[in-house]
């Protein structure tokens, strides 16, 4: 047995000995006739940085929306801190939602509020922190994402990458013990990507926060991930085609996974999402 496989097994053992924060069982989501997620099973343990990856349209963001309780699946269970959120009402979900932060792909900042007001919103609405302290926390969170002094600007006055950083500061406002991120580094320059990755690593490895990250950015994924799952597309649509620690994923010979990680144009991942035959479509059904 090699040293590598020993350390990989040891990492897996360490991971599984920790508390389960999220448990997904037989999750199925359909949009009309299309099956988006088909029998998804995985666990996220405390302190994990779980990476969800896969090609465009494979259901990554749909899976994330299920995990935060935004939509209800067709079948299956999602246990968050032991509670099955698929059977919970909005009112029952709220206490759980106060325990996690969510970074949306678009940032989803409230355009009518300033950056400072956006970050202070969860603090003022969901905590009993004194308003004077809230101002201090806003400044600290902005410093964390490198945007000190931007609190009085409106979201429309800053760039897309800066909006993403403000959204991250807002997601971290209540110091959540679980962070969901949808493409956290999309639109960021390489230096800022490294800063956000380092921040995620610091929060998870030093402070014990758990993170679930949907990303296409393989450099970032291998830098921050402690466990990875890849969703398939085409004939494997909605299924997990590979999972494991970053070391296991790097060694996995699955051709779809290799093509995705290496960013190759040729391979088994279907480029066409259309289910119609091209020539039939071109010439018409008649």
């Amino acid at each position: 047995m090699t040293l590598d496989s020993d350390s990989s097994k040891s990492a897996l053992h360490d991971r599984e000995s920790k508390d389960v924060v999220i448990e997904v069982k037989d999750l199925v989501v359909r949009f009309g006739d299309r099956t988006i997620l088909d029998g998804i099973n995985f666990k996220v343990h405390k302190g994990d940085t779980m990476i969800i990856m896969g090609g465009s349209g494979c259901g990554k963001s749909t899976l994330l929306r299920q995990l935060i309780g935004s939509t209800v699946p067709d079948s299956g269970e999602i246990r968050l801190y032991g509670f099955d959120i698929t059977r919970m009402s909005e009112k029952e979900l709220d206490p759980l939602r106060k325990r996690f932060g969510m970074l949306f792909q678009s940032g989803a900042l409230l355009q009518s509020l300033t950056i400072g007001e956006n970050i202070s919103l969860p603090l003022l609405e969901n905590s009993k922190v004194d308003p004077a302290i809230v101002d201090l926390i806003v400044k600290m969170k902005l410093e964390l994402v490198g945007l000190t002094g931007f609190e009085n600007l409106k979201p429309a006055e800053i760039s897309g990458g800066m909006k993403k950083r403000v959204a991250l500061a807002r997601a971290l406002a209540l110091d959540p013990d679980l962070l969901f991120s949808d493409e956290p580094t999309a639109g960021l320059d390489p230096v800022m990507t490294a800063v956000v990755d380092k921040l995620t690593c610091d929060l998870t490895r030093k402070l014990g926060m758990t993170a679930v990250v949907v990303t296409h950015d393989m450099t970032s994924a291998f830098r921050i991930g402690t466990y990875m799952i890849m969703l398939g597309s085409g004939p494997h649509q909605g299924k997990i085609i590979a999972e494991g620690t970053p070391e296991e994923i790097k060694k996995n010979p699955d051709p779809m996974l290799r093509q995705f990680i290496n960013g190759e144009a040729d391979g088994p991942i279907p480029l066409k999402l259309s289910q119609d035959d091209y020539f039939k479509h071109l010439l018409g059904s008649g």
């Binding site: 979900l93 939602r97 106060k98 969510m102 949306f104 989803a108 355009q111 609405e125 969901n126």
Partner: protein, 243 residues
Amino acid sequence: MNAYFRLNVEILFWLIIGPFQRQGPKVAEVFRQIVRIGVEGLPMSAMTALTVGLTLAMQASRKLTELGAGMYVPDMVSVSMMRELGPLMTSIIIIGRSGSAVTAELGTMRVSEEIEALRVMAIKPVKFLVVPRFIAMMIMGPLLTVFSNYFGLVGGWIVWKLIQGKGTAIYITRSLESATAGDLYSGLFKSAVFAWLVVTISCHVGLNVKGGAEGVGRATTRSVVLALVAVFISNATLTYLFF
């Protein structure tokens, strides 16, 4: 329809129960909406009411003079503005100016995931977005109607004084004598009902927008049409009940 009634119930819940749970509306946001919905809408409402008063007095003075009842022009302007035209014209202005803006704003927030972000932060969109707009509309609808009544009477006076050359004192006396407090209050009650319908329809349609920019455009048109129909039907119903 069920979702519309649920929205009304939720608004009432946050208005009545919210303050006891330390979750009352933010005063600053209510004032911001009062300025946007009411104060900024005042010039448009005033101008519309002024022209309506002018037109009404011009039409009435010719016919009433032919019938030998020219002295009744102030009576007609006063009663018409307070009972019908003040509340109705103000509501139409509010629908076109503020109702459409509310739908477009909430619709854009919906398609840009801002409303989903609020839900995920355990912040109720109805409490945070709808209730301040509701309070602002319920205050400013009747208040704008009072201003409209006043500007309508000014419009009538312009015709009475400047075109017909009659006295201001008699215009004021006849206007005040002809309209009763009941006329004023029934008009204000109507304007409150219209404000309720306009803000709830605008918010309901805005919160349920589907699709992108096209969806927001379609929703805004739909909200204006629905609010107009609701106001016209309720106006006819209330007029039947009151008079």
